[in-house]
Symmetry: C2
Subunit: 419 residues, 2 copies
């Protein structure tokens, strides 16, 4: 039974963007704009920062066709942040301010679109509002290329990044072995603690055009073992393609890249800014074997290549936003919208919605299980490929104009409180 609640809603985006995070936002915005219970739809500038700073945009003032382009526009159209809320028991300042803004704009629905840290933010706000007795329905809308959110089969954003990694690995495989003289090419993928994205390079391998060696952060990275592996492959076939996670670490948990980077900076969540691992490893290969080497970082491209997004991912991302609004309007709160996979009578992959308590999902990381990593710790298993393949299906087709994509351009009209 639906319990009616009338009021405005806020949608905020947080954490590292993805190719499809705007498809989720569009799912929220479009559904909320059409809901008779939601009086106003506000977009928060740079996630929770926009709420704290009272910078909200009136989504109802946007052109409908421009909003529709969000389906294929990468990155967070409303802006993102990496702002960490203190525990309300320690410091209530931010929470009081958020409540003040919610009251000012009569906000009764709050949708937060992000990864682990964002679900933590979402959970904290939800619990605070409950404690204060302020009626507000709060829903997490997941996104992360890392695919490491707890309680969901997979995360919006992962599949498109995985499709980019797998496709690009195939293209690089062909390119990197074109000459009569071979080389060792080291590819660096994102994913600090979970190897889902790095492992997706193995889809290319299973198609006969991918990395010979794949190192996930779920295993300890042994530099000598790595060099032995590379040497063995290169001696055998005269070429070697390697994919490695940026989060490769030694048995103490110390990042391998720390040996290469003297000045690793730390962000607000205590995460290290990573990079340079591929170059470091390529250099080590050169020292050992004196062969031609190349280091390639997929850098930001792997999370923003909307031109080659997975259509399955685009549609599921929209669905997660849409469903979050539908559940909230029907009375649900304090949940994240997750996915559960099943297969129909023809064996076709089906994506079902599954609600997860925000408290459970906040700050819990889902890693690649042992059964998906090979015994030698330098590759993935068929089980991993079977897990990933259905998610890659379909090619997103952004609108093109004069040979390049036509991405959404929002007007971002500043909101005024509903009097």
């Amino acid at each position: 039974m639906t319990i009616k609640l009338k009021g405005a809603c806020i949608i905020g985006q947080s954490g590292g963007p993805t190719s499809v995070i705007n498809a989720s936002a569009y799912g929220v915005i479009k559904t909320a704009l059409a809901s008779p219970d939601i009086t106003k739809v506000y977009g928060a500038a740079h996630g929770i920062r926009g709420v704290l700073d009272d910078v909200l945009y009136d989504m109802g003032a946007e052109d409908g066709r421009e909003l529709a382009l969000l389906m294929n526009t990468p990155s967070s159209a409303l802006g993102s942040c990496r702002y960490k809320l203190k525990d309300s028991a320690v410091d209530e300042t931010d929470y009081k301010r958020i409540l003040e803004i919610f009251k000012k704009y009569d906000v009764r629905y709050f949708f937060y679109n992000g990864g682990n840290d964002s679900m933590d933010t979402c959970n904290k706000i939800s619990k605070y509002m409950q404690k204060q007795g302020y009626e507000c329905r709060i829903m997490g809308v997941p996104k992360t290329i890392d695919n490491d959110l707890f309680g969901t089969d997979h995360c919006p954003g992962f599949a498109s990044a995985a499709k980019y990694v797998a496709t690009t690995c195939m293209e690089l495989y062909l390119d990197a072995r074109v000459y009569d003289k071979g080389m060792v090419c080291v590819l660096e993928c994102m994913g600090r603690h979970a190897g889902w994205l790095t492992g997706a390079s193995g889809v290319a391998t299973f198609r006969g055009m991918g990395p010979d060696l794949i190192y996930l952060p779920e295993r300890v990275f042994d530099l000598e073992k790595f060099l032995d592996d590379v040497e063995a492959v290169y001696r055998k076939q005269g070429n070697c393609l390697v994919a490695v996670s940026e989060g490769a670490h030694d048995e103490n948990g110390t990042l391998i890249v720390e040996a290469a980077l003297e000045n690793a900076t730390v962000d607000a969540f205590g995460h290290k800014q990573l990079g340079g691992l591929a170059a470091f490893l390529a250099e080590k290969v050169k020292e050992r074997m004196n062969v031609k080497v190349r280091a390639i970082e997929f850098s930001l491209m792997q999370r923003c290549a909307a031109h080659s997004a997975s259509q399955t991912d685009v549609e599921e991302s929209f669905l997660s936003g849409k469903t979050a609004v539908e559940y909230a309007v029907s009375g649900i709160t304090d949940k994240m919208v997750g996915f559960e996979r099943s297969f129909d009578e023809n064996g076709k992959y089906v994506c079902n919605i599954r609600l997860i308590d925000l408290a459970d999902v906040a700050n819990t990381e889902k890693k690649v299980p042992d059964s998906m990593i090979n015994a030698a710790g330098n590759g993935i298993t068929q089980e991993f490929v079977d897990y990933v393949l259905p998610l890659l299906e379909g090619e997103a087709r952004p609108v093109y104009e004069h040979g390049v994509p036509r991405f959404a351009r929002l007007k971002k009209v500043r909101a005024v409180p509903n009097k």
Copy 2:
């Protein structure tokens, strides 16, 4: 009037591959296989090396559907090389060997698919065969992402790389300014001496989502001026996106990257192996301004991203290969197939064929003219955009299988001489 010449043909691929070099090869192979004058179609393994080593593949033994997949398969399917032929006046060894192989397989047609250095190879072989009185028609089929071949409006391969650069710049523009705290992001593009590809990033700028600053190798790169430019943009808008050519050099012609790279290696043509410029410049920005920086190299991706190739480029690449065979069969030799642009009565871009003497095209580089670079030397003009735009039109659509492209897999059956 056609002068009949019956015999086998060889197609070889040479130099750095592109997303569409195989479309050209397919144009040659398909047309040659259908020609009554061409008795056999051989693919040389790794360009001229395959001729010297007597490693030729029988293209007639390949599956027709597999060959058709070459249209959207990146990199050189036959393998490439960077082998430089000595002047025949200095050392005739290689030439004698080539003539021997030509005679062994009754080769009367030779198609060489490559860039500047490859046209040099092609020209040398052509002149040698003429001198020896061995009747053989020799045609250059251009390819280069650098777009620096003389005598042609543009080169097959450039447009797809340009489309990748422009599209990726738009995506990175959106990604790199997502946070409430800005950053300086330095993008490094290929192109040693000619700035065509780096300049293509400006297409994104003219669409309102591209680099704020663009540095081509046609201008002297002044590090202090660069830092001033970046600082001015960042101070004004809190973000700065920069595209720079790998070939950025000082007033003495010394590469800027040499200051960063101690051990630059040199390839067979005396070209330096480049890389690391973006990281070097980002570091310099950090030293000066102490802001968040990121360095991104488009690396091999810009030349092998067949999944996002320009359909115009794919079709023109095929056309150049097809036309080379048609002209050769009709009696033409010693030419490269170039392009000339015109516009139809509706102002629509039309690509016409133009034959250029191999001697003219060999080793001559076409650079970006002054009128296409802005006065400050840190951007491009509308003329540049107008030049590039028609080439980017249309999106190539590779065949996909389980969410990733289905690239061609050739059997590569070793050829036996036609007795």
